[in-house]
């Protein structure tokens, strides 16, 4: 870090404006927190119609995030993992599904789908991912060539790729893809005003989005009950846990989780990866020249992008983390983005280095039972996306600044203008 660090006490992670700052400024703020205020306490962001909560501790150092994440009995997810505010119980389960559950229930639910996301099972899917990517890139080229040579990378590449893959895995028909994209965008908008103009309507809009997705699931589930297939939706309605099939609401929330997590995160990784290669052009040259770097390059993209910025845990009893005491009920927010730039773990953390090894990043979450279900899938999607981009669009260049999502939760890019300059 070359920049002078800001005053740690002046940083407010609950201020949405903080999340609109340029990435470098945010990273400098987290560097200051890691150094001077590693267990900073923050007042919770206000949410219309919810009572103000007691506040939270920002866990920003790699070792502290690992300690919290790897002790699920001391730091639970069941009070809420994706919301700082305590949501009404039914809302917490509906939008969190197994993310906001603890073992043993969490493990039993997760095991229903875990096999579908393992490396050996995904081998069968790689060809599909490649075909989907070929089609997407051909369509994007048509957009560029029928216009001024530019297109929006997010709209035409990084959104449709993971969206089509997860929809295929779930058995969602193509005509519903637009709805899935629109409604998951709303759920994970983090209050960005492009998606939620009136914050008083935030809860209502998010609830409506959940209902719309549940509607898709109900129709699919109805079909699968009479004609089961090999897709994930069939697995969800068929499987018994503790001798019972999942309830209607459990299936709906699981479905929403897979839809949302399956497309927002990889989209964010691909978009941020393309922009990182623009900011570090020598890394792009290096990767193109040496495809054997792909494995480490994909990990570095995930570290750099940190698509999911944080998850929450709640202390279940009076305890401590690396010497810092916590009381039962305290909320701890694990900032993965900050752990991923921890200078005590990563050499030159603010340098994008596609050969970085070792790279013990927490881009898929830190150790613990909630480690990303889709990690193997995401790695394959990112691998295929960049290999195909290099092959089929060697002349692709970033043509403007990314339009970033103003969210503390998803490190999203809403638009990234790119151009095919014809000079490969």
């Amino acid at each position: 870090m070359t920049a002078v660090l800001p005053e740690a006490d002046s940083i407010d992670l609950s201020d949405l404006e903080f999340w609109a700052l340029p990435q470098a400024q945010r990273e400098a703020a987290f560097a200051a927190l890691r150094r001077d205020r590693p267990f900073g306490f923050f007042v919770e962001p206000e949410i219309a119609f919810l009572p103000a909560g007691p506040g939270y501790y920002a866990i920003v150092r790699h070792a502290d995030v690992e300690a919290v994440s790897s002790q699920p009995k001391l730091f639970c997810s069941g009070e809420g993992a994706t919301s700082i505010a305590n949501l009404p119980v039914e809302l917490n389960e509906f939008y969190g599904s197994m993310i906001s559950m603890d073992d043993p229930r969490h493990a039993k639910i997760r095991r229903i789908v875990s096999k579908a996301f393992t490396p050996k099972m995904l081998e069968a899917l790689v060809e599909d991912v490649e075909k989907i990517t070929d089609k997407i890139l051909a369509d994007a080229r048509t957009v560029a060539e029928s216009g001024d040579g530019t297109f929006d990378l997010v709209k035409h590449v990084s959104s449709p790729l993971p969206l089509k893959v997860i929809c295929q895995m779930m058995g969602i028909p193509e005509e519903d893809e637009a709805l899935v994209l629109e409604q998951t965008n709303l759920i994970l908008s983090g209050g960005d005003e492009e998606f939620i103009e009136d914050e008083n309507k935030a809860l209502e809009l998010v609830l409506g989005a959940g209902q719309a997705l549940a509607g898709v699931m109900e129709r699919l589930a109805e079909e699968r009950r009479t004609t089961p297939t090999a897709d994930l939706t069939s697995a969800l309605i068929r499987t018994e846990v503790d001798g019972e099939t999942l309830s209607h609401q459990e299936i709906a929330s699981f479905f929403i989780l897979l839809c949302a997590a399956g497309n927002e995160t990889t989209r964010t990784a691909i978009s941020n990866g393309v922009y990182a290669l623009h900011e570090f052009p020598e890394q792009k040259q290096r990767w193109v020249a040496d495809p054997s770097l792909t494995k480490t390059a994909v990990e570095e993209i995930v570290r750099w992008a940190s698509p999911v910025i944080w998850m929450r845990r709640t202390a279940t009893q009076d305890t401590e983390v690396n010497g810092q005491p916590f009381k039962a009920g305290d909320k701890l927010i694990m900032f993965y983005n900050s752990a991923n730039r921890d200078e005590t773990v990563f050499k030159s953390p603010d340098v994008f280095d596609i050969g970085r090894d070792p790279n013990p990043h927490f881009g898929f979450g830190a150790p613990g039972p909630h480690f990303c279900l889709g990690a193997h899938l995401a790695r394959r999607e990112i691998t295929v996306a960049f290999r195909k981009l290099f092959e089929q669009m060697p002349d692709l260049e970033v043509a403007g600044e990314p339009d970033r999502l103003r969210s503390s939760f998803i490190n999203g890019i809403k638009r990234l203008p790119v151009r095919l300059n014809g000079r490969a």
């Binding site: 997760r110 875990s114 393992t118």
Partner: protein, 62 residues
């Protein structure tokens, strides 16, 4: 060397399968299974790496 998977803790992340596909496989029950009771010499390092990297610490080598 022997490896064991604690099936109460394992949630089937499949990281062991990614590291050592000849040794581990997530089954239809959603948890990891050891494919070979005794680890051959050439897979000892991979087994250790898989145990170190298991996010749920479900893997033990002895």
């Amino acid at each position: 060397m022997q490896v064991r998977i604690d099936r109460d803790v394992c949630v089937g992340t499949g990281l062991c399968e990614a590291t050592a596909p000849d040794l581990f496989e997530v089954g239809d029950d959603g948890v990891g299974h050891v494919l070979r009771a005794d680890v051959p010499a050439e897979l000892v390092d991979a087994a250790r790496e898989a145990a170190d990297n298991c996010p749920t610490r479900a893997l033990a080598v002895s």
